[in-house]
């Protein structure tokens, strides 16, 4: 049973087809709908919201209060001062880190999207003897853990160890398998007749791909961009291995190192955490629906 087909061709309502069919309201229905819902909301607040509220509160406290780590309102609201202190710390290291992280994310995602789209597209459209091999390599790339020290050795060999371009290429490489899978699944929804039409209109392979196919892949491109951007932005162990010196910090490394620098200043540490949470939050607010749609169609087909 192709679940993918069911998802992508299911009628789309405002809620994306995730509404159950309507049934008459009985006492049991009522209890289920409202009682369980309210309990769930309460539990969700305790389990999922409390940590974020904690971050906010800590970020607004003065050092002594923050050191106590209690879940209470700050005695003095220091939100703005903490923000300034964190940003200025160590010659604006946090700003440099954000810029580095953004460059890293944008460049690696751009490379990833284009290269994997080309691969996924070809995998679906053209069945050659290469296909099983490529499929196997993609699967291997997904499962096999990257060999880190040999990768450092390779990077050093090409002179890119501990540089941002090197990190960009590594992140792009690591993100290829998953992106190729998503693209391959989505290209299936674009009818070949469109290819035919474009070819008959005289389009060469490049034009066919970049002007006809890629625009139609916009939904999955958005999904891949958002999912991979969040993954690269939040990647901690990658820069830990391949970008170790503080000449090129990323925000995750800066946050981790901030622990030792801010030994008695938990308020600054949590302000740093808050700052780092903002870009993914923005991504989430704007692209929530696309993430859901893309992940489910590609991932479930697996």
């Amino acid at each position: 049973m192709t679940v993918t087909r069911a998802i992508t061709t299911a009628p789309r309502g405002a809620s994306g087809g995730l509404h159950p069919p309507r049934r008459p309201m009985t006492a049991r229905r009522f209890a289920r709908k409202y009682l369980i819902g309210i309990i769930a909301i309460l539990v969700s607040i305790i389990v999922f919201l409390v940590p974020f509220i904690f971050i906010l509160l800590q970020a607004a406290k003065d050092p002594k209060d923050a050191g106590l780590m209690g879940f209470d309102l700050p005695t003095t609201w220091q939100f703005w001062q903490n923000l300034v202190a964190v940003i200025q710390n160590n010659s604006y290291q946090v700003l440099a880190a954000f810029i580095n992280s953004f460059i890293l994310t944008i460049a690696s995602v751009a490379i990833m999207v284009v290269f994997s789209a080309m691969c996924g597209y070809l995998l679906h459209r053209r069945r050659t003897r290469l296909n099983p091999l490529v499929n196997f390599l993609v699967l291997a790339g997904l499962i096999v853990p990257p060999a880190v020290v040999p990768t450092i050795w390779v990077l050093q060999g090409v002179g890119m160890f501990d540089t941002l371009p090197g990190m960009i290429l590594i992140e792009a490489t690591l993100g290829l398998p998953f992106s190729i899978l998503l693209f391959r699944a989505f290209v299936a929804t674009i009818p070949r007749e469109l290819d035919e039409a474009a070819i008959i209109d005289g389009a060469g392979p490049m034009r066919l791909f970049f002007r006809v196919i890629l625009p139609l892949l916009r939904p999955v491109v958005v999904t891949v961009v958002v999912v991979q951007a969040v993954a690269v932005f939040n990647d901690f162990t990658g820069p830990l291995y391949f970008l170790p010196s503080s000449a090129n910090p990323t925000v995750q490394l800066t946050l981790y190192n901030f622990q030792s620098q801010s030994v008695s200043q938990y308020n600054l540490l949590f302000m740093n955490i808050l700052l780092i949470t903002i870009p993914p939050l923005i991504m989430y607010i704007f692209f929530n629906r696309q993430i859901v749609a893309g992940m489910t169609s590609g991932a479930v087909k697996g």
Binding site: M160, T163, I168, R218, P244, S246, A247, S264
Partner: protein, 443 residues
């Protein structure tokens, strides 16, 4: 084709980004800048904690005033095990700063100084150096480092007020130390007899590393045997085993604070200074925290050596100061500027800055620098032990081998997950692995 221009832009960006970034090999925001005009720019690497960065900045400010045509850019990196690895990686990939601040002794040896650093034997300040220090920054008779900061001692920091109140005298044997601790516990249960602070993992090593002076006194050949894998100099055998035993014993006897697993070094120093705890196996360099947070209490704390089972062996273990080194990739104008910077740190002006920005934790290793007259009392304690010849350098200054997992192994022993015997065996294995990795003969 509504989205075509957008799509083209995306592809163009991708290709340009990929090609340009790869070819140009740009090093991202925040990296070392190039020369600005006629000025010579050199780079200086130090630890990212507040004390190191403040000292670095002050030294640079003073140096640039004296040498206006030199600009020094400071970089920082984490200290500890992560810092050790970063040092090795930067030196081997030839991306190290011109001048860098790092430990002396075995950690210095592990950086392969002969190829990675500049020989400084001919510098003017070499003649001022203390004999012990010269040994820990040289290989084959060539000197590679200049001292920065004072040395320190590793022993038991103790709250003098509590000792006075309870009429305790400084213990000279381990049994006396335990007896003192038990007396402290019974007279006031709210006071911790012995602090442990595994929230900062490196602090777990004190009872083993700080015991070395005792071992050295008992068996002066121990360090050599240990390095050459001869004579049964292993941690699983006495006298070295006692360090592991002690780490387990104080916890088993219930003499340790309840929150030992999460307490940090700073919190522990705080507790010691304010009298909430009586004793703490620690380096005197940790007194910098007290200097900063409770300066009026600094003379309430003294130090005595970790006692040996036998009083005649009890000696204080000393740590030599850190040093400034120059990377061998520094050449030409930069090399001269770097040498000047290193010399400046040990000039009278540099010494004053060191006194102002560094918390003294022991004696200086160069006669060019004098301790300030208002140095805290505990330094006099240290100097007394040195004068009475009841002190010797730690093992890392007499042997190039130090197993990298000691702190984790001791935390396991201190948390009672492994016994002292098993811990000592694990560490001996760790030492063997390190020795083999360093290519030392006999392993």
């Amino acid at each position: 084709m509504k989205f075509s221009p957008l799509r083209r832009a995306l592809v163009a960006t991708a290709s340009v980004a990929a090609v340009a970034l790869t070819l140009a090999g740009c090093s991202g925001f925040g990296s070392t800048g190039g020369n600005s005009g006629a000025k010579v720019t050199i780079t200086y690497l130090t630890g990212n904690d507040a004390a190191d960065t403040a000292q670095g900045k002050a030294l640079i400010a003073g140096f640039e005033k004296k040498y206006p045509n030199v600009h020094v850019k400071m970089d920082t990196q984490p200290t500890g095990t992560q810092g050790d690895n970063l040092m090795k990686t930067k030196l081997s990939t030839k991306t190290m700063d011109n001048v860098f601040h790092y430990n002396s002794g075995s950690l210095f040896q592990a950086l392969n100084p002969k190829t990675s650093m500049v020989d400084l034997s001919g510098e003017s300040w070499v003649s001022d150096l203390d004999k012990n220090f010269k040994q820990v920054v040289s290989v084959d008779g060539k000197i590679y480092g200049a001292p920065l900061g004072t040395g320190s001692a590793g022993g038991i920091l103790y709250n003098k007020k509590i000792y006075q109140q309870l009429g305790l005298s400084i213990p000279t044997t381990w049994d006396e130390f335990i007896a003192n601790s038990k007396k402290i516990q019974s007279s006031d249960p709210s006071v911790t007899p012995i602090l442990q602070s595994f929230g900062d993992t490196w602090t777990s090593q004190l009872l083993v590393l700080g015991d070395f002076a005792n071992i050295n006194k008992q068996d002066p050949n121990w360090a050599k045997n240990y390095t050459n894998n001869t004579g049964g100099a292993k941690y699983v055998n006495q006298p070295a085993f006692e360090g592991f035993q002690h780490t387990a014993e104080i916890v088993a006897d219930g003499l340790v604070n309840k929150d030992y697993a999460s307490m940090t070094n700073a919190q522990a120093m705080d507790a010691l200074a304010t009298g909430k705890a009586a004793q703490y196996p620690m380096l005197t360099s940790a007194m910098a925290t007290v200097q900063q947070d409770e300066p009026d209490k600094i003379n309430d704390i003294g130090v005595f050596p970790i006692p040996s089972p036998d009083a005649k062996y009890t000696s204080l273990t000393l740590w030599e100061p850190n040093a400034l080194y120059i990377a061998s990739t520094t050449t030409g104008d930069k090399l001269q500027a770097a040498k000047n910077f290193v010399a400046f740190a040990n000039s009278p002006q540099g010494c004053t800055i060191q006194n102002q920005t560094g918390a003294a934790a022991g004696p200086y290793a160069t006669s060019a620098c004098k301790l300030p007259s208002n140095a805290p009392d505990f330094i006099k304690d240290v100097q007394n032990y040195i004068k009475e010849d009841k002190a010797s350098p730690a093992l890392e200054f007499l042997s190039p081998i130090k197993g990298p997992n000691l702190e984790t192994i001791l935390i396991a022993v201190g948390s009672q997950s492994t016994t002292a015997t098993v811990g000592a065996q694990q560490y001996d294995q760790d030492v063997k692995a390190q020795a083999q990795q360093l290519g030392i003969k006999g392993w």
